[in-house]
Assembly symmetry: C2
Homo-oligomer: 361 residues x 2
């Protein structure tokens, strides 16, 4: 087992990475403070893991579990309320601990529920998808979607611990797995050219889910994220680079209807757009873009946006991006492979011209 | 105009108290940072003040206003969503400022919306009821209700400033005004015996809304609250004393249906119960309880709970109180007039015996 630390002063917490952590009684018990536990999972995850997590909890706790519907389309305020219903029906108080057992949607919702329930209770992330393990479970971003924009309602709220059980990846559906790889590759692109090359040369091992390669990839991804988050918890600056591909990706997700494209798939297509725009600006080469596209395709990820989106739809979604400041859009682009930056000098006209070739008329 | 400061390190902010602040262009403009403003008010307040607040805003801002239904029964997640709808429909971004223009319900909802919209935007409290001016607008508690409990979903989230325009009190409906006085009297009871006596000797001036008396009462109330909040922002300890009468009061509000009893009315009846229990424990005298009851009645406040509540209903609501820790109820009681404390040694049996005389069988 490996342990990383997210350094955030009094909000610091450990990330544990290793096989079998969902059954690790000691590890889980160490981070539960009160006498109540609320396990939040979804219809897919609950039958697989809820019982074993319950068995791994210390004796004598009051345990409640709540099962949410599965999918990004259910990441709403209305479904969030089900968590509060369950907690209040069983008299969970401010000393309860919420366990987020599932992928990114469960983690984001359980985390926001923990931030808001009685104005804040403890929570622990138990991510069961690759995407949640390398990205959404670390760093304290929690949220639900709004029909007009992804993750628009939420909180920065850090967990007490993240337990990443690498065993769960063996049974992850292929689309979910590929979607997670998109975020892994993102870390190489934004801040670590060595990691990017390391991953590329292990594309076969990644595709076949080789445990050793995967474990190291997860560890390096979490370390990269922990470092960025420690430097800028509330995204005043540098943290925005973690959003490479996300401004385009969120537009795809919102326009296609949440849940039709997986988040990681939309990010993959979004990263390709960001790379293409970076190449147009002369910061990376066309060859580097082609190599990225070819590699993402090899990992079974989409490399172009859905062809039925209009320029107007793109612009409307992007205008609501959380990185907009006083009407000015900010985009995460690449200065080089392994070096992302935030730019605010792409005019609407330039963006229209860039997007037009990918759009329905 | 008087200025107080809530000392919370980087989250410190001023409270301004004086006549005409809702029209004070300079004061308001000073605390608005971005180029967008979202005014949240309700059906009652909007016709009275929204236009004058708009006129007092700096030129050149994008201003959106959203009007909520009036009343505690609308302090729900579903109504909260209307604020997000309005903000997103007009592309408000992370640099927007939310103005909470109204009483406690508007302030709590606009504040929680500010805490959650895009994971946190600026907000300013413009309280238009006495209760909001002396209590809910100060200290950063924001929330919505759940059918099973008051203020169960929310955040600790501080405003950038609180502007208390004392002119608005002249037109406040009598019930609303009296409800606010309950919270004013609370400050005397919990932490300032001098203030308590000062208020008692000015009961006529309070009843007739004498501006000078009121202004000083508001200032001393805000100063008391600011001091307690500065000492314990997230209610790890001492802040709980601000909840005198609230455990009983919240039970009344939830059981009677939100909006039937005003919050301040329920707190008044709750404070009497807390005082009676304190007297039973020998900490204050029966004479002190009688004097409090007589005074609250003089200010047109209820001094007993609704007679139709059963002991079971009381206990069920109180078991969900946010001050419960691991199943153990904590109550705010009086060691003396002007000196509140938190106790956790009242057994369920003792509480049942205490409540029985006030209950339907």
């Amino acid at each position: 087992m490996k342990t990383l630390q997210v350094e955030l002063g009094e909000r610091s917490y450990p990330i544990y990475i290793g096989p079998g952590l969902l059954d690790d009684v000691q590890r889980l018990g160490k981070h539960i403070q009160g006498r109540q536990v609320l396990i939040v999972s979804n219809e897919t995850v609950a039958p697989l893991y809820v019982e074993s997590v319950k068995a791994a909890l210390p004796q004598g706790l009051q345990v409640t579990d709540v099962t949410l519907p599965d999918g990004e389309q259910h990441k709403t305020l209305a479904v969030l309320e089900k968590i509060f219903d369950a907690a209040l029906a069983e008299n969970h108080n401010r000393s309860t601990t919420i366990l987020a057992l599932g992928g990114g949607v469960v983690g984001d919702m359980a985390g926001f529920a923990a931030a808001s329930y009685q104005r804040g209770v403890n929570f622990i992330q138990l991510p069961t998808t690759l995407l949640a393990q390398v990205d959404s479970s670390v760093g304290g971003k929690t949220a639900v979607n709004h029909p007009l924009g992804k993750n628009m309602i939420g909180a920065f709220y850090q967990p007490q611990a993240v337990l990443i059980d690498t065993n769960v990846l063996t049974t992850l559906p292929p689309r979910e797995y590929a979607a997670g790889l998109a975020e892994v590759i993102k870390y190489g692109l934004i801040c670590d050219a060595d990691f990017y090359q390391w991953l590329r040369t292990r594309r076969d091992a990644l595709k076949s889910r080789d445990p050793k390669t995967l474990s190291e990839a997860i560890e390096r991804s979490c370390a990269a994220k922990a470092q960025v988050v420690a430097a800028d918890e509330r995204e005043g600056g540098i943290r925005a680079i973690l959003n490479l591909g996300h401004t385009f990706g969120h537009a795809i997700e919102a326009q296609q209807g949440y849940g039709n494209w997986l988040h990681g798939e939309a990010v993959a297509a979004g990263m390709v757009l960001a790379a293409r725009l970076s190449a147009e600006r002369g910061d990376i080469t066309a060859g580097e873009v082609d190599a990225l596209v070819e590699w993402l395709e090899y990992q079974n990820l989409p490399v172009a946006p859905p062809p039925d989106m209009t320029v107007e739809q793109w612009l409307a979604h992007m205008a609501r991006d959380k990185k907009v400041i006083d009407g000015r859009l900010r985009l995460v682009l690449l200065r080089a492979i392994g070096d992302a930056c935030v730019v605010d000098d792409v005019s609407t006209a330039a963006l229209e011209a860039f997007l037009a070739p990918f759009c329905a008329c």
